[in-house]
């Protein structure tokens, strides 16, 4: 039997029609522990903020559930043959914004320029771009500071706004999030994405409805017509909400309730290793900690203290008891998907409290010292439990930790103001390359690098290695540089890695959706069976 292209098209069209007809009024009620921090798409480089933005806005390129770079607003992207430092993006035609503006290359230029503003948290991802211009209405070129073969990796969360809309609403400048500033784009949104914002009450409820003018109506299942997103802080309340049918999709079921949900019949729990590592940062750069009883010196600045703390933390116990087996204990702060990951560096060695106490004594802290640990209680899986457990483990070597756990909106504002001595952080690597980790978390903090390096750690040798990476085109040599850089980080014990998260998504059993390794559900992919 032969299938003519025509028959195939008709068949597809019928199938698509049937699907959209069947799902014409499907509301998806979705819950998660925390809310998006802001709707301004360039203000915060933060997981849940991007997740909500992905429903409303589009990026040029995004990574799908398999981790592959997929065409968004760009249909094609490549480096020019004759100019290795220029990237060209061919844009999708016939795309309109929710409020009717036509999408052109000018909007891309505007969005990138906006994201390069000093307030933008997305800036470190694209700060190698020196020039960006529109060749014509549907072609954009970017010149980078030297050849940057991995630029496309950095664009998967870089959302495109309408220049006309931003100018009309005085939102051309990115919100200064840590200063508590707001602009029109913080509570309103106008994207080219599959859903448009209907209403939003921060930390309470966000409603979106299907945008029928979405360019991808035929490419994606698009079976959900309305999304109601409600953050629910208490774990058992979230689980109860799913069990009782109050919500349809729970992005972060509590680890202790996964079994119960799986056994309940009409709920499925899908899981996958997540692209996110959980670790603690210690401020090593200051002369004196803000919250310690040690005066005149900073105990974290002493490598022996960091090594002692590293030896005291029992990562396997955290995995077994706090995470109920739902995590992978970690020795490095990059998950296994990432280029530069090494099993040897990630291996967790057992604890050695006796040796840790010796090291503390050698460093002059035989009697220990006190410090405040600051944690989120609504951001990462079992975040407060991890902090409590680590508090106990460090207590055994004389580090007397006071725990301060609070919601992530407060935590991240204070962290970015550089006010914390000892903090919990989780980090995903959307670019799947170690340079992203180096650039944000490890390079010396300046205006252009180390945007999330609040440890005060600064190492010239490391910086030199890391800064060669964006322009190094020889992949083998590049990987050698990465390996060398990781050796320095591991040897210095800049951070205390805890584990890599394992993602569980719980949903009604009639919902089909693959777990996205960056914990970014894209509802356009969701279908009902």
């Amino acid at each position: 039997m032969t299938i003519t292209p025509r028959a195939l098209t008709t068949g597809l069209a019928t199938a698509v029609f049937a699907l959209s007809a069947a799902a014409s009024a499907e509301t998806l009620r979705w819950a998660n522990v925390g809310d998006s921090l802001t709707l301004d798409p360039h203000a915060q480089n933060h997981g849940q903020t991007h997740t909500i933005a992905h429903q409303i806005y589009n990026t040029l390129i995004y990574s799908n559930a398999a981790g592959a770079q997929t065409a968004g607003l760009a249909t094609d992207w490549y480096i020019l043959d004759d100019e290795p430092d220029v990237w060209e993006f061919t844009l999708r035609e016939g795309v309109t914004f929710h409020e009717g503006q036509a999408f052109t290359a000018d909007d891309v230029v505007f969005s990138f320029e906006r994201a390069l503003h000093a307030n933008s948290d997305m800036r470190p991802l694209i700060n190698t771009i020196t020039e960006i211009w529109a060749e014509d209405d549907y072609t954009v070129r970017m010149r980078t500071d030297g050849p940057n073969p991995l630029l496309a990796n950095n664009l998967t969360n870089l959302f495109i706004m309408s220049r006309e809309w931003a100018e009309a609403n005085d939102a051309t400048v990115v919100q200064d999030f840590s200063a508590g500033e707001e602009n029109y784009a913080v509570r309103n949104a106008n994207g080219t994405g599959p859903f448009r914002l209907v209403s939003r009450e921060a930390d309470v409820r966000t409603e979106m409805e299907r945008f029928d003018g979405f360019w991808g109506m035929d490419q994606y299942p698009m079976e959900v017509s309305r999304i109601v997103f409600t953050p629910i802080q208490s774990g058992s309340t979230r689980a109860a909400a799913l069990l009782s049918g109050e919500i349809d999709f729970l992005q972060d079921p509590p680890v202790q309730d996964v079994n119960r949900l799986e056994n309940s019949g009409d709920i499925v729990v899908r899981n996958a290793p997540q692209n996110r590592s959980i670790f603690f940062g210690m401020d090593q750069g200051r002369d004196e900690l803000r919250t310690s009883d040690v005066e005149g010196e900073n105990p974290f600045a002493d490598r022996r203290v960091r090594e002692a703390m590293n030896l005291a933390v029992d990562r396997n116990a955290i995995q077994r008891i706090v995470m109920r087996g739902q995590s992978a204990p970690a020795g490095m702060i990059a998950p296994s998907f990432v280029n530069g990951y090494e099993e040897e560096l990630d291996r967790v060695t057992g604890t050695n409290t006796a040796r840790a106490r010796e090291l503390m004594a050698e460093a002059g802290y035989a009697d220990g010292f006190s410090v405040t640990m600051t944690c989120t209680n609504d951001r990462y899986i079992e975040d407060e439990g991890i902090c409590q457990a680590v508090t106990g483990m460090l207590g055994q070597i004389g580090v007397n930790v006071r725990l301060n756990a609070r919601p992530n909106s407060i935590h991240f504002a204070e962290l970015q103001n550089g006010e914390l001595d000892f903090y919990l952080l989780g980090w995903g690597v959307p670019t799947l390359d170690s340079h992203y980790v180096f650039d944000f978390l490890l390079e010396t903090k300046t205006d252009d690098s180390g945007a999330w390096n609040f440890t005060g750690w600064s190492n010239e040798e490391f910086d030199a290695l890391s800064r060669q990476l964006p322009t190094e085109t020889d992949l083998e040599r590049r990987n050698a540089l990465i390996a060398e850089a990781w050796r320095i980080v591991q040897d210095e014990i800049v951070y205390l890695p805890i584990h890599h998260q394992v993602l569980n998504w719980a949903m009604r059993s009639n919902i089909e959706m693959d777990v996205h390794p960056e914990d970014q559900p894209m509802i356009k992919y969701l279908s009902f069976n």
């Binding site: 208490s234 774990g235 058992s236 689980a239 109860a240 069990l243 509590p254 202790q256 309730d257 079994n259 119960r260 029992d314 116990a317 955290i318 077994r320 008891i321 706090v322 439990g385 409590q388 457990a389 508090t391 106990g392 483990m393 460090l394 207590g395 055994q396 007397n400 930790v401 006071r402 725990l403 756990a405």
Partner: protein, 317 residues
């Protein structure tokens, strides 16, 4: 009375113990087994809480003493990794639930007693003043009381708590949380005392002994506290006992809602809140045991208070 018709070698005035045992109150107490059991249970819990540091097998809130591998040990069973046994099991961090309850009851009772004492001092003081002075002082105090009475106690407490949170700098909030809680519960509960004392004072102040004291030009505060107060204590005692049970429950409610004492020094309510996350997954003991303790404590105190009200009421004798 029989004790007074004695021979010369015995003291004319019976011993304190004798007087207690012979009193109507004691007779009524011993005749109601429910009250005896309640009183004994209350006493056990109060003593256990007071001596928690000596009784508790572990110090649950010293993080350095915890072993995470003890986490989620069921009650009365041996932990598979460490071999330790915990009678009420352990929570997610390997804390002994029994010890946590002892320390938690300590916080609950401390807040309960202090809040009642605070409400009593405030309410009795204002009630005496209102009843004795009369006029605009009386009107002002009683209208404030009426307004406050129209709001549920929990709402008043939450409001006071919210205001204090705004006033106190964040660094000190945890240390001051207990005092704020005492203040909030006390302020939400003074009205009962004030109204009762005011009405008793109004009837007492026209009696001869007060008239006589005024003729001697004894200053008003002395009359109030030396002469009137001792005659209005009966009802106060009853309100205070029932108020204690209510204060303990209010404290637990606030802590359960997460606005009470910090998790580092949990009360019974905080323990229940922490434990409820594990109800679905089958670790029932983390929340049930603190819950049972709270239930028994509040019920016992309430039953004793109820009995006291009936026993002191001359109409019911």
């Amino acid at each position: 009375m029989t004790t007074e018709q004695t021979t010369g070698d015995q003291p004319l005035r019976p011993s304190l113990w004798r007087r207690i045992v012979d009193s109507d109150l004691f007779y009524s107490f011993i005749r109601s087994p429910v009250v005896v059991v309640s009183a004994v249970l209350t006493l056990i819990i109060v003593l256990a809480a007071a001596f928690a540091p000596w009784i508790a097998p572990h110090t649950p809130f010293n993080p350095a003493s915890l072993n995470l591998m003890n986490g989620f040990t069921p009650p009365f069973s041996v932990n598979e990794f460490t071999g330790d046994v915990f009678i009420f099991g352990t929570d997610s961090q390997g804390r002994d639930v029994f010890s946590a309850i002892l320390y938690g009851a300590r916080v609950s009772l401390l807040v309960g007693f202090s809040a009642v004492a605070f409400a009593m001092i405030l309410g009795v003081g204002l009630g005496l003043l209102a009843g004795y002075k009369g006029g605009w002082v009386d009107s002002l105090i009683m209208r404030v009381a009426d307004v406050q009475l129209s709001f549920p106690a929990i709402l008043v407490a939450l409001m006071i708590f919210g205001v204090m949170r705004g006033v106190i700098p964040p660094q000190q909030q945890d240390q001051l949380a207990i005092y704020v809680l005492i203040l909030a519960i006390g302020l939400s509960d003074w009205v009962q005392y004030a109204r009762t004392v005011r009405s008793s004072t109004m009837s007492e102040k026209n009696k001869e002994y007060v008239q006589a004291a005024r003729l001697f030009s004894i200053p008003a505060p002395a009359i109030l506290f030396k002469h009137i107060l001792p005659n209005v204590t009966g009802p106060i005692l009853v309100i205070a006992t029932i108020g204690l049970a209510l204060a303990i429950i209010l404290e637990s409610t606030l802590s359960f809602l997460g606005v009470g004492v910090p998790a580092t020094q949990p009360s019974l309510g905080t323990l229940i809140r922490i434990g409820q996350d594990y109800l679905f997954s089958g670790e029932w003991w983390i929340t049930i045991f603190p819950g049972m303790t709270l239930l028994i404590l509040a019920l016992s105190v309430n039953l004793v208070g109820d009995w006291l009200r009936d026993a002191l009421n001359p109409k019911l004798r």
